[in-house]
């Protein structure tokens, strides 16, 4: 299975999509739903199959004015890998 790399373009897996608006925005998928914390949502909302992982990390660093980009990269990478295991994200 491919590792998540800078050039990877993560996207929601088939059958996963957003429902609801604003703070109620929920990820819905076969037989389940996930209401995410703000930071998790910020990562996942950028997984549109267009942006590269490097670009997503860059945007997060800017959005959260983060001092430690490497930490953001590691957290986002671990989070997306977990969601891939659940078949919610592909890359």
């Amino acid at each position: 299975m491919a590792e998540l790399e800078d050039a990877s373009q993560p996207r929601l897996a088939a059958g996963c999509r957003w429902a609801g608006e604003g703070a109620n925005r929920t990820l819905v998928y076969p037989e389940g739903a996930l209401r995410l914390q703000e930071t998790a949502r910020a990562i996942l909302e950028r997984c549109d199959g267009q942006r590269s992982f490097a670009q997503i990390v860059q945007e997060l660093v800017a959005a959260y004015n983060a001092s430690d980009p490497e930490k953001i990269r590691q957290d986002a990478s671990a989070f997306l890998e977990r969601l891939r295991q659940k078949r919610l994200v592909d890359f």
Partner: protein
């Protein structure tokens, strides 16, 4: 205030070309002439979405037996609901599948009765297996999210690995391996379906090995048989807490089997608004929360996890819907379940009830569910 019902199970018809011996439909099925109209269902989806429902599971019977299923998918989708079609596949064509996907279908769950054709058709009481194998690639190519559902019991669980291999070859995102739950027709056929302790133990090992092997490729969700468990399942995520079911005639139920509970009346969407039924009606309040609970549930730490288990099972096995689920090892009535398990395990081990596959001669082994009249 009750919580939001996250999922609506829409049993849009009890008609079905299959006659599965484990069917969860009630023994008294809704007649075709009593079925809700397209407009009725559209109103239900609107009301349900307003209540906060996220998922709608279109099921039956066979939901494709309704000619308006594409309209129903479109309506549910337009109201923002996540649409899941739970189907045997019978009645699906490439054109109909295209129309369903265009209407906004999010997910299809296709069921199999076995990996082998003869036993599969035997369980379903219909020659359906070969057709399902033809449909699976069409579903895969359509791009819709795809779950393969394998229903297991004593008659097929010994070739579970072969069933998993079949599912793998169909390339779904998700595989559900569901040990039969004993309600409806499955309850009627329990003697022939309940697996042995050894079969259950082996099946759980095989499932766990497959989960590891297929991790990241196919998500495997397993439904385990609660008769052999220490604690009951959190049936429906708690009574009137997470899910509701509407039967073909519009009756609103907290679960598939609730009609078996005597003295409990249910409301109908033809007469009452769904939010009132969910929030206020007697049937939904009856076992909601903890005030109905007897001991040992009332003071049990697990009461917020399993909600006392299943009310229908408590009635069916122990004769009292307000008692602790008898499958719980702490239930005073656990002995009734043990008795059933000992009888069946002893009979199977002594060879009286060996899993045997389709009989050569017609035998009166079990009861097939008929068509609703």
């Amino acid at each position: 205030m009750p919580e939001t019902p996250l999922a609506l199970i829409a049993e849009i018809t009890h008609r079905c070309p299959l006659h599965c011996v484990y069917c969860s439909n009630p023994l008294q099925m809704a007649s075709p002439s009593s079925e809700l109209t397209t407009q009725d269902w559209e109103r239900v989806f609107e009301q349900s979405a307003k209540l906060g429902t996220l998922h709608v599971h279109l099921t039956g019977g066979e939901p494709l037996a309704r000619e308006d299923v594409t309209e129903l998918v479109k309506s549910a989708h337009d109201h923002g609901l996540y649409t899941n079609l739970i189907t045997s596949g019978i009645g699906l064509s490439e054109a109909r599948l295209d129309a369903l996907v265009k209407a906004g279908l999010d997910h299809i769950q296709l069921s199999f009765q076995d990996s082998r054709e003869a036993p599969a058709n035997w369980i379903a009481g219909t020659r359906a297996h070969a057709l399902k194998l033809e449909l699976a690639p069409l579903i895969r190519r359509s791009g819709v999210a795809f779950t393969v559902n394998m229903v297991v019991h004593r008659q097929n669980v010994d070739h579970l690995e072969e069933m998993i291999a079949l599912a793998e070859s169909l390339q779904p995102e998700r595989l559900e391996i569901a040990h039969t739950q004993y309600y409806g027709w499955a309850w009627k056929n329990l003697e022939q379906l309940l697996p042995t302790r050894e079969q259950v133990r082996e099946s759980l090992e095989k499932i766990s090995a497959a989960q590891k092997r297929l991790q990241g490729r196919i998500r495997i969700d397993a439904v385990v048989p609660d008769y052999y468990a220490r604690y009951p399942k959190a049936c429906m995520g708690g009574w009137g807490r997470r899910q509701l079911l509407i039967d073909p005639s519009g009756t609103v139920l907290p679960c598939h089997a609730a009609r078996v509970i005597p003295g409990l009346g249910f409301e109908n969407v033809r007469q009452s608004p769904l939010d009132w039924i969910w929030r206020e009606s007697e049937s939904f309040q009856k076992f909601r929360g903890e005030s109905w609970m007897p001991e040992p549930c009332r003071s049990c730490d697990r009461r917020t996890e399993d909600f006392g288990g299943c009310r229908c099972q408590a009635f069916m096995i122990a004769g009292d819907a307000a008692s602790t689920d008898p499958v719980c090892s702490l239930a005073p009535t656990r002995g009734l379940v043990e008795e059933k398990l000992s009888q069946i395990n002893a009979a199977v081990i002594s060879g009286k009830k060996t899993p045997q596959g389709p009989p050569l001669e017609q035998e009166n082994l079990w009861v097939y569910r008929p068509q609703p009249k």
